[in-house]
């Protein structure tokens, strides 16, 4: 079931994309839509690290 974490980036990024499709507010100097993309590009591999940690195939 830990592998279901892999689905979080798909759901989080794609389902809420219409909401994130805007310029304001700027975050870290980036328009919000670009920040939204970067946020998921960084969060996703961090989630995978959790999966990797608990995946019995790696022990």
């Amino acid at each position: 079931y830990i592998n279901l974490l892999i689905l979080i980036p798909f759901i989080g990024f794609l389902v809420f994309l219409p909401w994130a499709n805007r310029i304001e507010p700027y975050v870290l100097g980036l328009p919000f839509f670009l920040f939204w993309l970067l946020f998921w590009m960084i969060i996703s591999p961090l989630l995978l690290i959790v999966v990797y940690k608990f995946d019995p195939a790696n022990k």
């Binding site: 592998n3 310029i23 100097g29 980036l30 839509f33 970067l38 996703s44 591999p45 990797y52 195939a57």
Partner: protein, 492 residues
């Protein structure tokens, strides 16, 4: 020869030298040549997969899309990072299956999973037909980058021919080993060049990233978000999903999976590669900067090179040109090899089943020359057939995705007949839509705009899946799949 062309020539010779040297002390068998004897650790696999992402698109299309289409360009890093996330789940499964059965190419995998030589032949042909346009794009991109970066002292045609010759030589000599070593210098150069350009240009012209985006917002605010129609939310989401599914179905990505030493190195790469994709955002910074600094460019794809030439001395342009050259050579080498290995294992070996390993290696190298030659001819001729192939290349490959997905399930409901007819049905729809230019809005003029904007490849994929299931239901009793006792020596 100017200094810029001198630097580019030096890196071309370095790539050739590294490519040829990389096989020292190794006995070349078919497995060693195509998948490096399955001995590549995390770092080599990282650079090879990253090599598939940072192609000539990095220097031309990436900034070009940001320049002319704005936020629509974000679909590229979006689908790539989602493809990496997906690969955590399926790449180790594919690797393990192929390792146990000594399979060395994508068509081998399909043929073994469905116990069908015909399916292997079909996948090899689809893979080759869809890969040639990508090789042509790389050759053309190489010609444009080298010609521009050398201030026109070499024509795009001559640059493409020299690049094609070099890549053909080192692939024939060293196979995937040459690609791996060249990928390492390529990626180090890409990291330096892209981060430097992506930060220097906005800070030099605007005093920062935020002021640059604020300038774009004042001049062309529509570039910073997706549009209400056309490049809209539904276009973006459907395109990202299709491309994410298709990324590892590309014969090249598939081959890199098989070259890994173990499952762990694939999982580690699924974790690290999304971070590397962030580099593409720096490319977008350059494209957005060009919107303000160089408005009205006829060809947006040249925005990065245009800004670089306007801003830097020739020696810097030489380094940028050399990095661009390497972004063409590395992916092309893997594309050539994946196509040649697929045709050798699943077309030639079906015709000559008793061919020895040494014999097959020679045949693979002949296929390399043939495929490279055909791609170069298309590059130089610039005909309509190639333009059509370019449009549908990814759609052709994506039709293999449903068959591949169901092959990963413990209980596979799809029969070899269902898989074969599903792929054929999908390819026919792709051909029809590409040749006639048909779109969803033509089929369904009464539906809401968001449905009209959905990527047309989804239609072919849906028809593929429906046909696959119907035929599988009808042929369930006829097809008895035994996945456990099929290997390269049995299917051949």
């Amino acid at each position: 020869m100017n200094i810029s062309l001198g630097i580019i020539s030096f890196f071309l010779l370095l790539a050739l030298f590294l490519g040829i040297q990389s096989t020292r002390g190794k006995k070349m068998s078919m497995e060693q040549w195509t998948v490096g004897g399955r001995g590549f650790g995390t770092i080599f696999v990282f650079f090879l997969i990253a090599g598939e992402v940072y192609t000539t698109f990095t220097f031309l299309g990436g900034s070009g899309w940001a320049y002319s289409r704005g936020a629509a360009a974000y679909y590229v890093p979006a689908y790539i990072f989602l493809a990496y996330i997906l690969s955590y789940w399926f790449a180790p499964k594919i690797w393990k299956y192929c390792k146990e059965r000594n399979l060395i190419s994508q068509p081998d995998y399909f043929a073994a999973k469905y116990n069908s030589r015909s399916l292997g032949v079909l996948v090899a042909i689809v893979g080759c037909v869809a890969t040639v346009p990508y090789i042509v794009i790389q050759f053309k991109g190489l010609g444009i980058i080298v010609s521009q970066a050398s201030y026109g002292s070499i024509t795009p045609t001559v640059a493409s021919c020299i690049g094609a010759l070099v890549v053909t030589i080192y692939v024939m000599v060293s196979g995937i080993h040459g690609s791996a070593w060249t990928a390492i210098i390529k990626d180090f150069m890409i990291i330096i060049v892209v981060i430097f350009l992506g930060l220097y240009i906005p800070f030099h012209y605007f005093d920062g990233i935020k002021p640059m985006f604020e300038a774009v917002e004042s001049a062309k605010p529509e570039l910073l978000t997706l549009q209400d129609q056309g490049f809209s939310n539904s276009w973006f989401i459907s395109t990202v999903i299709i491309n994410a599914i298709g990324f590892y179905i590309l014969p090249t990505s598939f081959m890199v999976i098989l070259s890994a030493k173990n499952e762990k190195s694939l999982r580690k790469n699924a974790i690290t590669l999304p971070f590397y994709t962030i580099l593409l955002v720096f490319i977008f910074f350059i494209g957005f900067s060009a919107v303000i600094i160089a408005p009205g460019l006829e060809n947006g794809d040249l925005s990065l090179l245009h800004l670089a030439i306007k801003t830097f001395d020739p020696w810097v342009i030489g380094i940028i040109g050399a990095a661009g050259l390497l972004t063409a050579l590395v992916p092309t080498s893997v594309m050539l090899m994946a196509s040649a290995a697929g045709l050798t294992q699943n077309l030639y070996k079906v015709i000559v089943p008793k061919a020895s390993d040494k014999h097959l290696l020679v045949v693979s190298k002949i296929f390399i020359v043939l495929i490279g030659g055909v791609a170069l001819l298309f590059t130089l001729s610039d005909g309509d057939a190639m333009a059509l192939l370019n449009i549908m290349a990814y759609s052709l490959i994506i039709q293999l995705a449903p068959t591949a997905f169901f092959s990963l399930l413990k209980k596979n409901y799809v029969t070899k007949y269902g898989a074969f007819t599903g792929i054929i049905a999908g390819e026919i729809v792709v051909l029809y839509m590409s040749i006639t230019g048909a779109t969803i809005s033509q089929f369904l003029p009464f539906v809401p705009q968001w449905i009209k904007d959905i990527n047309g490849s989804l239609i072919a994929l849906l028809i593929n899946i429906i046909v696959m299931f119907v035929v599988s239901l009808v042929t369930k009793k006829k097809a008895t799949i035994n996945n456990d006792y099929i290997g390269r020596e049995v299917i051949s």
